[in-house]
Symmetry: C2
Subunit: 192 residues, 2 copies
DNA sequence: ATAAAGTATAGACTACAGTCTACTTTTGAG
DNA sequence: CTCAAAAGTAGACTGTAGTCTATACTTTAT
């Protein structure tokens, strides 16, 4: 087990390098194992499929949330926090995530037999959302006749819907701006 | 061109039969052409890919809309029409569409190089939505500071979001009921 | 120390989506 | 009616994701 993490991360970094250089589809598993000097056996030991490797893209969202956490703490309205978080996330996605890879992620999460990282409720993404919503409920700003989890699930559903749409339209409109126009209206139903 | 439609529909019906019997993934193109007594050449003449064939599932939605059209006409509020249409559609999906196939459809539409049937704005689905929204705007029930198309796009986005979520959760909650709770609140922003 | 069990690596092999090339049938312009 | 272009059919072939079997390395238990 000693070398395990070394091998796994060699695979991961080679894969992401290739994905960004050539696109997901045009990168073969054989290329990944050649570039990382590993083998099919190792690759499929660590990942159920090529898609599962792609799933780690979800955790990029968490890094962003981690990064903006301090700023979020300084804001007082839960509603504003949510809008701000969405803006930062979508801005980051627009600027630095390949739409090909994002689309592949959303596509593969629907059919994968492996982990569904998008639904991993232990992720920072969900943790922070729960916190913000729960506080908003305590302060009376957000309705309490719905559970925190229900509201978080709905918020996540809306973000996924926006991202799904952006991907299926090949990113031919500005994601962050579009969401800025739409999300606040949609979220109105959670405030009192 | 005489036999063309015959061959195409032999392929289509064999394919759907097999998809429902064995699932999408477990049905091979070779099986489809064997069952339909056609050939690889024909298959790929009519469809860019196995996924494109799956795309015709979208048109099932249109049939439903066609079916409920008379009832919709009898209703007066645009808002009620939209909610009713959604209920009927989602009810039909819940009852008679395999979630495996729906998930595959939503998955493949994100990555297909072929037609994106979900975005085919000539479909009955979009036609009827445009009609309802446009009438609602004329009667002053729906806000007119947004274009009919923008509102229709948003409505479609929400439905896709709801369906994406239902698929990714493996259909482990009742789609129609869930939407009945959520959609009216979300749609509030389109009414005056 | 050594055996046994568990974990990791290797690469040959398989299954299947999709391509390619050659052939056949249909269409329609003159 | 003829014949050239277009549309359709056939199946052998290719590329690649994923499987399988064999071997090597690591850990734990006695």
């Amino acid at each position: 087990m000693k070398k395990s993490n070394a091998t796994k991360s060699k695979i991961v970094s080679a894969a992401w390098k290739l994905f960004y250089e050539q696109g997901y589809e045009d990168t073969t598993v054989d290329e990944i194992i050649a570039a990382s000097k590993t083998s099919k056996g190792s690759f499929y030991h660590y990942f159920k499929s090529k898609d599962e490797l792609l799933g780690s893209l979800s955790y990029l969202f968490d890094e962003k949330y981690e990064e903006i956490l301090p700023t979020v703490k300084t804001m007082d309205k839960a509603f504003d926090k949510l809008i701000y978080m969405n803006g930062e996330l979508f801005g980051m996605i627009e600027d630095s995530v390949s739409i090909d890879l994002l689309g592949r992620l959303y596509s593969s999460q629907l059919v994968t037999k492996g982990e569904k990282q998008l639904l991993d409720y232990t992720r920072m993404y969900y943790k922070l959302l729960r916190e913000v919503v729960s506080e908003g409920q305590k302060s009376g700003e957000i309705r309490s006749d719905l559970s925190t989890n229900d509201i978080v699930k709905t918020y996540a559903l809306l973000e996924r819907g926006l991202l799904y749409d952006w991907c299926i339209c090949n990113g031919d409109y500005p994601l962050k701006d579009y969401s800025k126009k739409l999300l606040p209206s949609l979220l109105n139903y959670i405030v009192i």
